[in-house]
């Protein structure tokens, strides 16, 4: 059994963890979310922070070396995301790197890769995946159309909940070139410049102080080179990329779970009522112990899934589904238990714990909630 597939961190991963942990301790805090909320900048994140991540090499961590990246795996990126997630840092790592660059690395033309990936590694270019169209994540429910027109395509439609879409320089737009909404075949992926004529975006400010965007595409004209991969076979790219996105997002959520759990256990040890520490009440003890189990299971499935994706394990899709479902449920549960155990202070804006619950809900709904992934898991297992 090779070291890489063992469910403990490699030395390199430990190093990445320590570096990121130091960085997060220095640079990230829940207070910055309060500031972002007040500022209401369209970008929805701190560009200075992003440049610093680029200097650490994290913005290209999974990009091949020939394009300036570190060519490491999702397991390594997961370590970074987990640490950032602990303090709810907002970065476009998932949108730009896992979703956007993920599509290009997997199926982009050499021109695309050469034009875009080095700039992504430098932290100079942001990507976003414009996939969702309704209130519920459902990747094949695509009504946006791309119609062949001369040498290129004309795209019409609307997208919602485009993560980091307010700041993105390029979109990867999922559009239908044949078939009906709901069908797996007939989807195609297009690289579209954010400034393209006919494309307009509106930022939406979310409860966790993050920003998404709604897109309107009205007669957006792109040339044939904008197509990523084969015409009508976009789902073959989209499926594995969405698995990677689900697992990476889960790693970020794991950070939130861990911080929520640890800060609450600490609170139980510190807070006094009735002349004793409230952590001495068996009612709370048993709940904390059950919570601990859910946290441990979450850790394991994230590690296991990221490694499976990195090694192209055939089980990777169902692991990804199990992973996102589990983290969605556990993060939600962590937010709820965290607030309830904090008592009155827990529902104030002043206390950080509420931000974790808000992030939990947003992360839960991004790229498929637990129910979506249970359905997907059942389909993958043919039942």
């Amino acid at each position: 059994m090779s070291e890489a597939s063992s469910l403990v961190l490699t030395e390199e991963q430990q190093l990445i963890q320590e570096t990121t942990r130091d960085f997060v301790a220095d640079q990230c805090s829940v207070d910055s979310l309060r500031q972002l909320r007040e500022k209401r900048e369209d970008a929805g994140f701190d560009r200075a922070l992003w440049k610093q991540l680029a200097e650490l090499g994290w913005t290209g961590i999974i990009i091949p070396e020939e394009y300036g990246g570190a060519e490491l795996g999702l397991a390594e990126l997961g370590v970074v995301l987990e640490e950032l997630g602990r303090k709810l840092a907002i970065t476009p790592l998932i949108s730009t790197l896992v979703a956007g660059a993920g599509c290009l690395v997997r199926a982009g033309s050499d021109e695309h890769k050469a034009a875009i990936l080095p700039a992504v590694c430098e932290g100079d270019l942001l990507l976003a995946l414009a996939c969702q169209e309704t209130a519920r994540h459902d990747p094949y429910s695509v009504s946006t159309t791309a119609r062949k027109d001369g040498d290129g395509f004309v795209i019409d439609g609307a997208k919602t909940l485009v993560l980091d879409g307010a700041a993105a320089d390029r979109f990867i737009v999922v559009a239908r070139t044949s078939g009906d909404s709901g069908e797996r075949s007939g989807l195609s992926l297009f690289l579209v410049d954010a400034n393209e004529t006919g494309l307009s975006r509106k930022p939406t400010f979310l409860i966790d102080s993050r920003t998404c965007a709604d897109l309107t595409l009205s007669g957006v004209r792109v040339d044939s080179g904008a197509l990523i991969g084969a015409l009508g076979a976009g789902a073959d790219i989209l499926d594995p990329v969405l698995d990677s996105v689900a697992a990476s997002l889960s790693a970020e959520m794991l950070g939130g779970v861990l911080d929520t759990f640890e800060r609450t256990v600490q609170f139980l040890k510190d807070r006094e009522q009735f002349g004793v520490k409230i952590g001495s009440f068996q009612g709370l003890k048993h709940r904390a112990a059950r919570w601990f189990c859910e946290v441990e299971l979450s850790k394991s499935i994230v590690l296991k899934t990221l490694r499976a994706l990195d090694s192209n394990d055939v089980q990777a899709p169902e692991l990804s589904a199990a992973c996102k479902a589990r983290l969605s449920d556990t993060f939600r549960y962590s937010g709820e238990e965290g607030i309830q155990m904090h008592g009155g202070i827990g529902v104030t804006d002043e206390e950080d714990i509420g931000f974790y619950m808000k992030r939990a809900r947003v992360s839960e709904l991004l790229f498929g909630d637990a129910s979506f992934h249970r359905d997907r898991f059942a389909s993958l297992q043919s039942f």
């Binding site: 209130a135 607030i339 529902v347 509420g354």
Partner: protein, 396 residues
């Protein structure tokens, strides 16, 4: 029975004649009439309706007429309520003085105290707030530190309260204070009333995870209170405090029984929209099952409330099982708003700004605000303790 039938038909006629049509529609949240010195009304009809009820004693129908009530028997009150419900009459007024303070004043107040405080409550002239919790005394309410020292005919109050609902718009406060620090904590607490306009009172609202809130922090700096505003014995306030909490739990369990009318779309509406299933069975079997469970639990809860009221009529008073109502309703409410919010999906992720309509934003804020319901007014854990101890008699 015949006398009660007469009362029923007279009451119905009176309601039909006196309750303005606009007061017979389901109220929005903003339609609540709170009363008080700075009272505002959503419209003229609300003012007229309150005035007519005050005149008739119907804001406090079970109180003696001398204190502004209608002096009705329990059976008559029940008839009045059922007739108001049948005609969908809105409650003319809602506030904590009426529902929480007044019952304990009637039980523990002196005749002078009743005469001084009850009539203004019945008339909606004075709005009260509740000075109970402190930053260090939440679940352990009796651990409160807010100090009150007698100085001749006055009592001087120093300290801090938290979670004082509507302190910034209330006129008077009923407040737990520590009048003896030398005895076990339950034995040094007094129940004191004072005017929020007194010198030394200051108030600061608390933003919650859902944004602005009715809750405040309240600070007392050498506030001088006439000693006649002490209810019950000095250092004997804990008994009164606990009794008031029962009334509070009762209020909390009644105020939102059944569906809250604050949102226009039912849960079914929300699910139909989100799933894009305008009619027929909801296509998501899991959501459909969960929804049935929610509605059924609501039915079971309402039936339990109804049984409790029927028991009260049969002479079995509200006991510690009011903890059950507070516990269950707050959690059921959370499940409701959590379900609604989950089903709304991406449309429920907006904090503010364009891109989300009012109902969506409200769904989100209510979901967040609802997290407080299992904490404030006594956490769920405290309710479980009370049930285990006082209802089930489990040992300490």
């Amino acid at each position: 029975m015949s006398a009660l039938d007469t009362f029923r038909s007279e009451t119905r006629s009176w309601l039909e004649e006196n309750c303005p049509a606009a007061m017979r529609t389901p109220p929005e949240k903003t339609d609540t009439v709170w009363g008080g010195r700075r009272s505002t009304f959503p419209n003229e009809d609300a003012k007229i309706w309150l005035e007519r009820c005050v005149e008739k004693g119907f804001t406090a129908p079970e109180w003696p007429t001398e204190y502004g009530g209608a002096g009705l028997s329990r059976e008559e009150v029940r008839v009045l309520r059922s007739e108001m419900k049948a005609l969908r009459c809105r409650p003319p007024i809602f506030n904590y003085g009426l529902l929480m303070l007044a019952p304990v004043l009637l039980e523990y107040g002196t005749d002078e105290q009743k005469a001084e405080h009850l009539p203004p409550i019945a008339r909606g002239e004075i709005r009260w707030c509740q000075g109970y919790s402190e930053p260090g005394a939440g679940s352990d309410l009796a651990g409160l530190q807010c100090r009150a020292v007698r100085d001749g005919d006055e009592i001087v109050v120093n300290g801090q309260k938290i979670w004082t609902s509507d302190a910034d718009v209330s006129d008077w406060i009923f407040c737990l204070v520590r009048t003896n620090t030398e005895v076990p904590k339950h034995d040094g607490i007094s129940f004191l009333l004072f005017d929020m306009e007194s010198k030394g009172v200051s108030v600061s609202p608390i933003p919650l995870i859902s944004g602005a809130s009715p809750f405040c922090q309240t600070f007392f700096d050498d506030v001088r209170v006439p000693a006649r505003h002490l209810i019950g014995k000095e250092n004997g306030g804990w008994t009164i405090a606990k009794r008031l909490l029962q009334h509070e739990r009762e209020m909390l369990s009644e105020s939102t029984a059944g569906a809250r009318p604050t949102q226009k779309k039912t849960l079914v509406d929300v699910a139909r929209e989100s799933l894009e299933v305008p009619e027929g069975p909801l296509t998501d079997g899991v959501l459909r099952d969960e929804l049935a469970q929610l509605y059924m639990d609501r039915l079971c809860y309402s039936a339990t409330l109804e049984r409790s009221r029927d028991q009260a009529l049969a002479g079995i008073g509200p006991g510690p099982e009011t903890s059950m109502f507070k516990l269950y309703l707050s959690e059921l409410g959370q499940r409701n708003s959590d379900w609604r919010h989950r089903v709304v999906g991406a449309r429920g992720l907006g904090w503010d700004g364009d891109g989300f309509d009012d109902e969506e934003l409200q769904t989100t804020r209510e979901w967040l605000y609802g997290k407080a319901s299992t904490i404030l007014g006594g956490t769920s854990e405290i309710q479980l303790n009370i049930i285990a101890k006082r209802v089930l008699g489990l040992p300490d």
